[in-house]
C-alpha cells in the first residue's frame, strides 16, 4: 500500500504549531459543556447514598416534587437495591435553578438499612472481616504468569531483596467535571457531553434509553479533561436525558467536585510483596511477586509487573480486592504508573546491593535497543543532559537540613492507531473543510487535523477548517489509550490525498499534463520539476466547478504504529527536619513516532509530568477508616500542585518519522513518580516504598533509618 505515506520533507509536520483554539480558550470564548445554555433550560441534581454500603428501604419523592421550582423527579434505584459506595446514585430531581435543584434533592427522603462496609484492602482481605457485597466475595484471583525457573533464578542470585511496595488510590480530578446538557425533540436527543468519545456516548445513550443510535447527536466542542474517565454517558448522562424527557425541557446536569471524586473513577491501589534476585555481576536473575490492589466496588485492579526490566525467571500472582468505594476507571496509562513504581524502587535497591550506578544497572537489564525500545539510548543521553555524573551515592553528605538527590526511571506504552473515518470537502473558492467525529480532549486533536490536511494540500494551517466533536461527522473512536493521533491523522491523510488526487484530475488537462505529474505545495498546484508551470491553489480550485470535491476516507495501515519508550530523571530536595519534599528538576526523554505538532506533543509531556508529581507527592483519596466515607472530596485537602510546586521540566522528544504516528498522551506520566521517589531515596538514604511521599512518611522513614535502616 505505497499509495499512502507521510511526506519525506514535511513543511508543517513536526514543527511547533500553536493550538488553533488557544485564543478561544484563554479568552473564555470556548464553550465547554459547563457553558452550554439552552432556551428554557433547567438543572438536574442527583441524590446519592451517603453510606458506602446499605440496602435501600424506600425512596419518597413527594416532598421534593412539591419544592419550589421542581419540574421533574425520578428514582434511579428501587427498594431492595444495594448501594456499594458513598455516592452511588439513588434518585434525581430537576428544578428551574441550580440552587433550587440542590435544595430539592435534599428533600428526597431515602431510607437505608446500613450494612457493614469495607474501606481498606486490609479489611477486605481479613478472614472474618466485613463483606463489600451481600452476593459477591471480597477478592478474586487476577493476573497470573510464570516464566523460566524461579528456583534456579534465586540460586544464581548473589543478593536478594524482599520487600513490600505500594501505591495509593487517586481520582482523575478533571477540571471540568463530568456532565451533560440534554435536549429532546420528539424522540430525538441532542446531548452536549463532557466526553472523550462522542460516538461511544451516542451508543451509550441509545442503548440505555431504547432509541435508535441515529436519533442521538452528541456534541463536545471543548472538553476540560477526562484522563480516561469520560467515555460513556454514565449515570449522570442517562439521568440528565430522563429528567429532560420528564420535564419536557432541556436539562443541564454537571457534577460537583464531591460527586466527581466519589463517582467518576479513580486509579486503583497497587501492593506487591516482592522477592527479587540479582547476580553479583549485576544481572537480574529472579522475580517473585504477589500483588493485590483495589479498584473499588467490584472493579479490577490489574497492572503490569515486573515492569520493563528483564527478569529471566519470574512469577506474578495478582488478587483483585473489592471495597465499598467508587469504581476505578482507566486513568492515564492504566496500570503502568503502579507497575513502574513497584519495580523501579526495587531496581534502585538491587543496584545498591551490587554497588552499581542506577543508570548503568538499568542499561544492563533493559531490553535491547529496537525502534520501540529506546531506553538504553535515553539512559545514556539523558544522564549526560541531566548531569547525572554529579549524583552522589545514596545519602546526601551535605550538612544542614536540606538533602538533594537524583533518581531515574523508565516506561513504555502502546499508542497504536485504529479505525477512524474522515471526510474532506474542497470548494471551488479554494476553501477546505475536514470533518472527523473525533474530539479534542485538550490534547490538540483539532489542530492536528488541520496540520495534516494543510500539509497534504500544501496550504497554511489557517486555510483548513477542521470540524470535529460531533456525531454528525464520520465515526472516530474514543480518545483513550493514546490512540487518537495515530487513528485520526492517518484518516485525515488518506482522505486528503484522495481529495487532492481528484483536484489533480481536474487541473491536469488545463496544465496539459497527467494528474500524477502534479504536486501541491506552498499554496500552489504545479507540475513536479517545473514549478513555474502551475496555478495558485485558488485558481486550481476554480476548476472544481459547481459540485465540490467531496471525499470519504479512513484510517489505513502504514501511517501509524505502536510502542513507545521513555526515560525520566528527577532531582528532588528533602527537608529532613520537616519531611517536606520539593521536586527541583525533571528531564523527560520520550518518543512518539512521527511528531505531528511539536508544541502539543511537548504539552502532553508537561501535563503528564505534572500529573505524576501530584501522584508522587500530593493526591490521596482518603476514606475515613470508621465510616468508610471520603474525608477529602474537594480540592482543598485533596492536594494538587499549584504553579509554585511545579519544577523546571525539560522535554526531549525523539522524532522518528519512519515509524509513523504514535500516541503520546499517556506514557510521559508513567515514570515520573518513581524517579522522584528514587531521588528522595538518593537524597536521604531512607527508602520509602509507598506513595504518596507525604511528610509523615518521609519523617517516619528517616526515623527508621536512624534507628537501624530501612533496607
Amino acid at each position: 500500500m505505497a499509495k499512502y505515506s507521510w511526506p519525506e520533507k514535511p513543511t508543517l509536520l513536526g514543527t511547533p504549531v500553536k493550538r488553533l483554539d488557544g485564543p478561544d480558550k484563554v479568552t473564555g470564548r470556548a464553550r465547554y459543556t459547563h457553558d452550554i445554555n439552552r432556551p428554557g433550560m433547567i438543572y438536574g441534581k442527583i441524590v446519592r447514598s451517603p453510606y458506602p454500603h446499605a440496602k435501600v428501604v424506600s425512596i419518597d419523592l413527594s416532598a421534593a416534587e412539591k419544592a419550589p421550582g421542581v419540574k421533574a423527579t425520578l428514582a434511579y434505584m428501587k427498594p431492595g437495591d444495594e448501594v456499594h459506595y458513598q455516592g452511588d446514585p439513588v434518585a434525581a430531581v430537576a428544578a428551574d435553578t441550580e440552587e433550587r435543584a440542590r435544595d430539592a434533592a435534599r428533600l428526597v427522603r431515602v431510607r437505608y438499612d446500613a450494612l457493614p462496609q469495607v474501606s481498606s484492602e486490609a479489611q477486605a482481605m481479613a478472614a472474618d472481616g466485613p463483606k463489600w457485597s451481600t452476593t459477591q466475595p471480597n477478592t478474586r484471583a487476577g493476573q497470573r504468569a510464570e516464566t523460566g525457573d524461579l528456583e534456579a533464578g534465586f540460586r544464581q542470585a548473589g543478593h536478594i531483596v524482599e520487600q513490600t511496595y505500594s501505591t495509593h488510590v487517586i481520582t482523575h480530578v478533571c477540571l471540568e467535571t463530568h456532565g451533560a446538557v440534554c435536549e429532546w425533540d420528539g424522540d430525538k436527543l441532542t446531548a452536549w457531553v463532557s466526553t472523550q468519545g462522542v460516538h461511544q456516548c451516542a451508543q451509550g445513550f441509545a442503548q440505555a434509553l431504547g432509541i435508535p443510535q441515529t436519533n442521538v447527536r452528541v456534541i463536545t466542542q471543548y472538553m476540560g479533561g477526562g484522563f480516561g474517565s469520560k467515555f460513556a454517558p454514565d449515570s449522570q448522562g442517562i439521568i440528565c436525558a430522563k429528567l429532560a424527557k420528564a420535564a419536557k425541557a432541556p436539562v443541564k446536569l454537571m457534577l460537583d467536585r464531591k460527586e466527581e471524586h466519589l463517582d467518576t473513577g479513580n486509579r486503583p491501589s497497587a501492593f506487591a510483596k516482592i522477592r527479587a534476585g540479582v547476580s553479583s555481576g549485576g544481572k537480574l536473575t529472579a522475580f517473585d511477586g504477589q500483588s493485590w490492589g483495589t479498584g473499588g466496588a467490584g472493579a479490577g485492579s490489574g497492572f503490569p509487573l515486573p515492569y520493563l526490566y528483564q527478569f529471566p525467571n519470574r512469577r506474578r500472582v495478582h488478587t483483585d480486592v473489592y471495597i465499598n468505594a467508587g469504581q476505578q476507571r482507566a486513568m492515564r496509562a492504566p496500570g503502568h504508573p503502579q507497575g513502574c513504581f513497584l519495580t523501579e524502587i526495587l531496581m534502585d535497591e538491587l543496584a545498591d546491593r551490587v554497588k552499581m550506578d542506577p543508570v548503568e544497572f538499568r542499561i544492563k537489564n533493559a531490553p535491547p535497543l529496537a525502534p520501540n525500545a529506546q531506553w538504553i539510548k535515553y539512559f545514556q543521553e539523558g544522564a549526560k543532559r541531566f548531569g547525572w555524573d554529579k549524583r552522589h551515592a545514596t545519602g546526601d553528605p551535605t550538612p544542614g537540613p536540606i538533602k538533594t538527590g537524583m533518581g531515574v526511571s523508565a516506561h513504555l506504552w502502546g499508542g497504536a492507531g485504529r479505525g477512524s473515518q474522515a471526510h474532506v470537502d474542497l470548494m471551488s473558492d479554494g476553501s477546505v473543510v475536514v470533518k472527523c467525529g473525533t474530539q479534542d480532549i485538550g490534547t490538540g486533536t483539532r489542530t492536528l487535523v488541520a496540520i495534516v490536511a494543510a500539509e497534504t494540500f500544501g496550504l497554511p494551517v489557517s486555510a483548513v477548517k477542521p470540524e470535529i466533536g460531533d456525531t454528525i461527522y464520520p465515526f472516530s473512536g474514543g480518545s483513550g489509550g493514546s490512540t487518537t493521533a495515530a487513528s485520526v491523522t492517518p484518516a485525515i491523510r488518506t482522505t486528503s490525498v484522495n481529495a487532492l488526487d481528484q483536484l489533480f484530475a481536474k487541473v491536469a488537462p488545463t496544465l496539459g499534463v497527467t494528474p500524477d505529474q502534479l504536486a501541491a505545495e506552498g499554496g500552489r498546484v504545479f507540475v513536479r520539476g517545473n514549478n513555474s508551470k502551475g496555478l495558485s491553489w485558488k485558481d486550481a480550485c476554480k476548476l472544481i466547478g459547481t459540485e465540490p470535491i467531496s471525499v470519504d476516507g479512513k484510517w489505513e495501515d502504514g501511517l501509524s504504529s505502536s510502542g513507545t519508550s521513555g526515560v525520566q530523571f528527577a532531582e528532588a530536595e528533602v527537608d529532613i527536619e520537616t519531611g517536606v519534599v520539593r521536586v527541583k528538576r525533571i528531564l523527560a526523554m520520550q518518543d512518539c513516532g512521527l511528531i505531528v505538532d511539536k508544541l502539543t506533543a511537548e504539552s502532553q509531556a508537561y501535563g503528564g509530568v505534572i500529573a505524576a508529581i501530584n501522584f508522587a507527592l500530593f493526591e490521596d483519596r482518603i476514606l475515613d477508616r470508621v465510616t468508610g466515607q471520603m474525608v477529602n472530596p474537594n480540592m482543598e485537602w485533596y492536594l494538587l500542585a499549584g504553579m509554585s510546586d511545579v519544577p523546571k521540566i525539560d522535554i526531549v522528544l525523539n522524532n522518528m518519522p519512519e515509524r509513523g504516528v504514535i500516541g503520546i498522551g499517556e506514557p510521559p506520566t508513567v515514570s515520573t513518580a518513581s524517579a522522584i521517589a528514587n531521588a528522595v531515596r538518593n537524597a536521604t538514604g531512607a527508602t520509602i516504598r509507598s506513595l504518596p511521599l507525604h511528610p509523615h512518611k518521609v519523617l517516619a522513614a528517616l526515623e527508621q533509618e536512624r534507628a537501624g535502616g530501612t533496607n
Binding site: 466515607q629 482543598e636 510546586d645 519523617l699
Partner: protein, 340 residues
C-alpha cells in the same frame, strides 16, 4: 444553598442591630469561609449582614501601636508599610494565607473568626460535636492534620487562623461591639479551648457581637520571627507554624564568641499555629528562651521545649517534629540566621 436575606448596614450600630433576628444571622466579610459553608449546607443562615463596610483602615494609636479595622483585606495587611515596620510577623503571616485570591477577598475579622477546617466538620455527613452531635470523628479516624496540643477534647481541631497567631504573640486586644456596647478582649483570651458547653464556637464572641478592631500595643525593643511549614507552596494550609516575639535586654553591642550579636533575650512570647484548638502559647519554649543569648543553639532548645508537652493523636506524631522545626526556625529568623 438555602435562600437568605442580605443586609448592607452603613455603621457598626446598624450592623449589630441587623444581627438580631428571629432566626440565624451571620456577618459576612470576604465570604471566603462563610459562602463555602453555606454552599456545603454546613450553615444555612436566614440573613447575612455585610460587614465589609466597617472600618477598613490601619491607624496609629497614641501609645505607638496600631489599630487595624476589621474590614481590612488580608492583602492590604500584608502590604502595609506601618505594619511591616512594627509587626513583621503579622505581615509574614498575612502574606502566606491561602492564595492571592483569598488574600484579596478575605478580611481580618473574617480570618480571625473563620470556622474550623477539620474535614469532618466540613463534610455534611459527619455530625460531630461542633455540629451538635455527640462524637469527634477525628479521635479514631483520620487525624493527620489535627491537634498535637490541647487534646483533652471534646474537639481536636487546629485553629485555622494564621493572623491570630502573631496577634496573640504581640499581645493584641480585640475590640468587640454588641447590643450592650463595646468591650476589649485580649487576643489570648478571645479564643477558647473546647468544652462540652462551648464546643459550637471557637471564641468568646456572642452571636450578636462583631469584632471591629485589632489593637496592637507598641512592640518595644523586640526581635520577631515567623516560620510556616507548608507541604505545598500554594493553595494550602500550614502543617505547623510559629511566631516568636523576643523582648531583648537593653544592653546592645557586645559581640559573642561565635561572632553573632551578644544580645540576651529578656523574655519571649512563643505562639504556635495549626497545632491546637487555639493559637497555642508555649510557656516551656518561652522559659527556654528567657535569659539566653539569641543563637542557633538557643533556637534549637526552644524548639525542643516547645514540643515537650505535645500529646499527638494516632496519626499526627509527625507534626511534633514539624512544630519543633517551626519554632526553631522562627527563633533563627528573629536572630537573623538564615533558614530554609
Amino acid at each position: 444553598m438555602k435562600a437568605f436575606a442580605y443586609v448592607n448596614p452603613a455603621t457598626e450600630k446598624e450592623a449589630v442591630a441587623a444581627l438580631k433576628i428571629d432566626g440565624i444571622a451571620m456577618p459576612l466579610g470576604g465570604g471566603q469561609d462563610l459562602l463555602a459553608r453555606m454552599k456545603d449546607y454546613i450553615d444555612s443562615p436566614d440573613r447575612i449582614v455585610n460587614v465589609k463596610g466597617l472600618d477598613a483602615t490601619v491607624t496609629a494609636t497614641p501609645d505607638g501601636g496600631l489599630k487595624i479595622g476589621s474590614a481590612v483585606k488580608i492583602v492590604d495587611l500584608a502590604e502595609n508599610a506601618q505594619v511591616a515596620a512594627l509587626y513583621p510577623a503579622v505581615v509574614a503571616a498575612a502574606g502566606e494565607v491561602g492564595t492571592p485570591q483569598i488574600r484579596n477577598q478575605g478580611t481580618v475579622a473574617g480570618n480571625i473568626n473563620q470556622r474550623p477546617r477539620c474535614w469532618y466538620f466540613r463534610n455534611e455527613e459527619f455530625v460531630c460535636y461542633k455540629k451538635g452531635g455527640s462524637r469527634c470523628f477525628a479521635v479514631n479516624g483520620e487525624n493527620q492534620y489535627h491537634a498535637i496540643f490541647g487534646n483533652d477534647g471534646p474537639s481536636h481541631i487546629v485553629h485555622p487562623s494564621s493572623l491570630a497567631v502573631p496577634f496573640v504573640a504581640y499581645g493584641a486586644r480585640f475590640r468587640v461591639v454588641g447590643p450592650n456596647g463595646e468591650r476589649e478582649v485580649p487576643a489570648a483570651e478571645y479564643f477558647t479551648m473546647p468544652t462540652l458547653q462551648n464546643v459550637l464556637k471557637e471564641n468568646v464572641l456572642d452571636d450578636e457581637e462583631l469584632l471591629t478592631h485589632v489593637i496592637l500595643p507598641a512592640p518595644g525593643n523586640v526581635k520577631h520571627g515567623h516560620y510556616e511549614v507548608r507541604y505545598k507552596q500554594s493553595h494550602d494550609w500550614p502543617l505547623a507554624f510559629a511566631t516568636v516575639v523576643l523582648m531583648m535586654s537593653a544592653a546592645n553591642g557586645t559581640t559573642g564568641a561565635n561572632g553573632t550579636s551578644g544580645n540576651t533575650i529578656r523574655s519571649a512570647r512563643v505562639v504556635l499555629g495549626a497545632v491546637a484548638p487555639v493559637p497555642w502559647r508555649s510557656r516551656p519554649a518561652e522559659e527556654a528562651l528567657a535569659g539566653k543569648p539569641l543563637s542557633e543553639a538557643t533556637a534549637a532548645l526552644a524548639g525542643e521545649a516547645a514540643v515537650s508537652e505535645a500529646k499527638p493523636m494516632s496519626g499526627n506524631v509527625y507534626k511534633v517534629q514539624i512544630a519543633k522545626t517551626a519554632v526553631k526556625r522562627a527563633v533563627m529568623r528573629a536572630a537573623g540566621i538564615k533558614t530554609v
